[in-house]
């Protein structure tokens, strides 16, 4: 069994191989062969992950931590960084769902990117992204994780601006990159600080070390800055909605299911450090997460672009996970991460299918009544909708409930009961905006517009000549069906039931037991909440979600072909936060940067230039010695020799 786990290096090796193959001959293979190779590489990687998982299940839970050293990377004094993979329940969970979802999305992309002139390039990026993400998750030290961290950032940049001939796409990519740099800065500082305090940046050694609460607090907060960048938390979430400029599979893979979860993963990975930090640091994390969850949910209410709604929804759901991390219920955070990966990938791919069928129109107000034309897409989308809204027994219900119960129970978090209520509000808002999306897209009367003339469809019998919504090909519907199954059943991996007592106590918290070796000391366990109270909380959460759906359905369902009430303008403009940041950066911010630049030019460069001028001045004097007359050189050599001789004779050192 141990040998099977040691095969973990195969998991990132396959996407790397696919990436290299496509780099060399991808263009020659063209469509669809390049796509199949990439999909095959991902599929092989998924199988390898399953093998590792099986191997790990066969081990005792105390032995489920395997480090595979591949080679020494940086060796300098006390600073030792190896390329080493860390296989433990946490990372194996991550690689399972990353490779699984990535395989489905690769398959979907073969259909979605049909006819694109850069077909093979797209799959090069996708494979490289998968490789980077797996290195991020499997790395056994902060630097290797950072390598993957930057790799996924770079791939995200390439893929957001994949259709770079349009200005908006190119600048969205740049925005994502620059915003992420802010977070990366926090990550780097945290790495430096970890090395100074722990003397090592390996997770294993950091977990067993002890550095005192103030240093741990500093590292925690710096890592949280990094996590806020990647996992799109306030105030760094700005890039994620814009990232929807990329192809839809990219939105599903990178900006919903995998890359954006890396911040949450990182925080879960360094849980011993967070545990050592002052109490206010986790509370701060929880409150930032809550604010993000609420803030993004309100914005999602005001969006008309179907992908923008899902993007803000992702930001909001990531907020839920961060709340869970701040509360200390890491299992709930990872649980929600997994279920969210299922249903959000499903929703994104579903929206991609809709956009595909509507010939790239993304405005929900021009949809309506699509369920008749796209039965598979609509059916699977409805499952995703119920899952994200938190309706029993879909996956989102179980994971969201875990977070809510955790925050209700943990009194060490600042004002935890208030946090609970506000998070419940955010969950209700989730149900509202998702219901609005579903109603406007699939139900009601068609409001399609003719692509050529732009006229609206009035007759219910005559289809528009230039608009034929249609179901997508099998490459696109198969992943939808698979993900729908997972979005429905994903919650069953960690249900809060238990029976028996003492030694014969059994329960259904499979994920929690599985993750225990990774989170043994620092997972917060419920202390104040009994089974009855948990049941009440679950009922409350379900009632809120169902009520929200009911209310929203009445609001936006309109059989006469209307689009229901619009949210206040401030919401559709995202509380003007984006504009404010842009204005600040363009105005006072720009002045500040210009001041810094001019300081750099005059003071820093000035010193360097002055040194250069001085040397040039000296050179101007000294160059006159270089007369070009050989005999004068000979004289100088002679004089020098005599002077040396005289020196030795006088000092007697010779």
């Amino acid at each position: 069994m141990e040998q099977l786990v040691e095969l973990v290096w195969l998991v990132p090796a396959f996407p790397l191989l696919g990436f290299l193959t496509l780099m060399v001959i991808g263009r020659r293979l063209g469509e669809p062969m390049a796509g199949w190779i990439a999909t095959g590489a991902m599929g092989a990687s998924f199988l390898a992950a399953v093998v590792v998982f099986i191997g790990m299940v066969g081990l005792d839970s105390d032995d489920r931590l395997t480090e595979v050293d591949i080679f020494d990377w940086i060796v300098a004094g006390d600073f030792n960084v190896g390329i080493g993979l860390l296989a433990d329940p946490l990372s194996v969970t991550m690689i399972l769902f990353i490779t699984g979802i990535a395989t489905l999305i690769h398959l979907y992309s073969v259909g979605y990117m049909h006819g694109d002139p850069n077909f093979s390039k797209f799959f090069i990026y996708l494979n490289m992204f998968a490789f980077s993400m797996l290195m991020l998750v499997l790395g056994d030290n902060l630097l290797l994780t950072f390598l993957g961290w930057e790799g996924v950032g770079a791939c995200s940049y390439f893929l957001i601006s994949f259709w770079f001939s349009e200005e908006a796409n190119a600048s969205a990519g740049k925005k994502a990159f620059v915003t992420n740099r802010v977070g990366d800065f926090g990550f780097m500082l945290a790495t430096f600080l970890a090395f100074f305090t722990y003397g090592s940046i390996e997770y294993g050694e950091m977990a067993s070390g002890s550095i005192g609460s103030s240093a741990a607090t500093a590292i925690t907060l710096l890592l949280f800055v990094g996590a806020a960048g990647k996992s799109a938390q306030f105030p760094l979430y700005l890039w994620l909605p814009d990232a929807m400029a990329g192809p839809t599979p990219v939105s599903a893979l990178i900006h919903a299911a995998t890359m954006v979860t890396s911040g949450v993963y990182l925080l879960a990975r360094v849980n011993p450090i967070i545990h050592e930090a002052n109490d206010w640091a986790p509370s701060l994390i929880a409150w930032v997460g809550l604010f993000t969850a609420l803030f993004a949910a309100t914005i999602a209410l005001g969006q008309d672009d179907i992908k923008k709604v899902l993007a803000y929804s992702t930001v909001s759901q990531l907020g839920f996970m961060v709340v869970a991390v701040g509360t200390g219920v890491y299992v709930a955070a990872l649980f929600h991460m997994i279920t969210h990966a299922f249903f959000k990938a499903l929703l994104f791919l579903g929206s991609g299918s809709v956009i595909h069928g509507m010939n790239d129109d993304q405005n929900m107000k021009n949809y309506g009544g699509l369920y008749k034309y796209m039965p598979v897409t609509a059916g699977t989308f409805l499952i995703g909708w119920l899952a994200i809204a938190g309706i029993f027994p879909f996956s989102g219900f179980w994971s969201k409930d875990e977070i809510l119960v955790g925050i209700w129970d943990n009194d060490t978090v600042f004002l935890n009961k208030v946090l609970f209520v506000l998070l419940l509000v955010a969950a209700g808002l989730t149900a509202v905006y998702m219901t609005r999306l579903v109603v406007l897209t699939f139900f009601g009367k068609p409001r399609w517009r003719d692509e050529v003339t732009g006229e609206a469809w009035v007759s219910s019998d005559e289809p528009l000549p230039n608009r034929h919504p249609h179901e997508s090909p099998w490459h696109m519907t198969v992943p939808l069906l698979a993900l729908a199954g997972l979005a429905f059943a994903g919650g069953f991996i960690n249900m809060p039931f238990s029976w028996g007592s003492g030694d014969s106590k059994n329960d259904t918290k499979y994920l929690e037991h599985w993750l225990e070796p990774s989170l043994r000391w620092d997972e917060y366990h419920l202390q104040n909440t009994g089974g009855g109270m948990k049941f009440v909380l679950a009922i409350v959460a379900t009632v809120v979600a169902a009520g929200a759906i009911f209310w929203a359905w009445k609001q936006w369902s309109d059989e006469r072909g209307g689009t229901g009430p619009d949210a206040p303008e401030i919401l559709s403009r995202g509380w003007r936060y984006d504009e404010t940041v842009s204005n600040f950066m363009g105005g006072p911010g720009r002045k500040g940067f210009e001041a810094i630049t001019s300081f750099d030019r005059t003071a820093i460069d000035g010193v360097v230039n002055k040194v250069g001028d001085l040397v040039r001045l000296d050179g101007n004097i000294l160059r006159r010695l270089q007369t070009g007359l050989v005999r004068s050189y000979a004289v100088l050599i002679g004089v020098g020799a005599i002077a040396l001789m005289a020196y030795f004779l006088i000092t007697g050192n010779a």
């Binding site: 070009g628 007359l629 005999r631 000979a634």
Partner: protein, 101 residues
């Protein structure tokens, strides 16, 4: 009168001085070149002398190195001189000062 090492050393010093003065006062590159050779061989003479005096084979060994270096230097130097002479015949060393600062 016995020929002691002193004689050889004096001879070497004289040869070296002649070479030095020649290098400094003559302007014909070829002659200057010969002066350099004279200086090198003066040094060789001292090496041999001391080698014999101190009964140390190192002196003679050094001479071989100097000879080899001198031979290599002659090859390069003569080639340069020939090349220069082809372009501008009858020049003196002082005229070849293109590389002045």
């Amino acid at each position: 009168m016995e020929l002691t090492s002193t004689w050889y050393l004096v001879l070497a010093a004289i040869l070296f001085a002649i070479g030095t003065v020649g290098l400094l006062v003559r302007r014909n590159p070829l002659v200057m070149f010969m002066c350099v050779e004279l200086m090198l061989n003066a040094v060789n003479l001292t090496f041999v002398t001391f080698g014999a005096e101190l009964n140390d084979i190192g002196g003679e060994i050094s001479v071989f190195f100097v000879l080899v270096v001198a031979a290599a230097e002659v090859v390069v130097g003569l080639a340069i001189i020939v090349a220069i002479m082809r372009r501008r015949s009858g020049t003196t060393a002082d005229d070849i000062s293109v590389l002045r600062g």
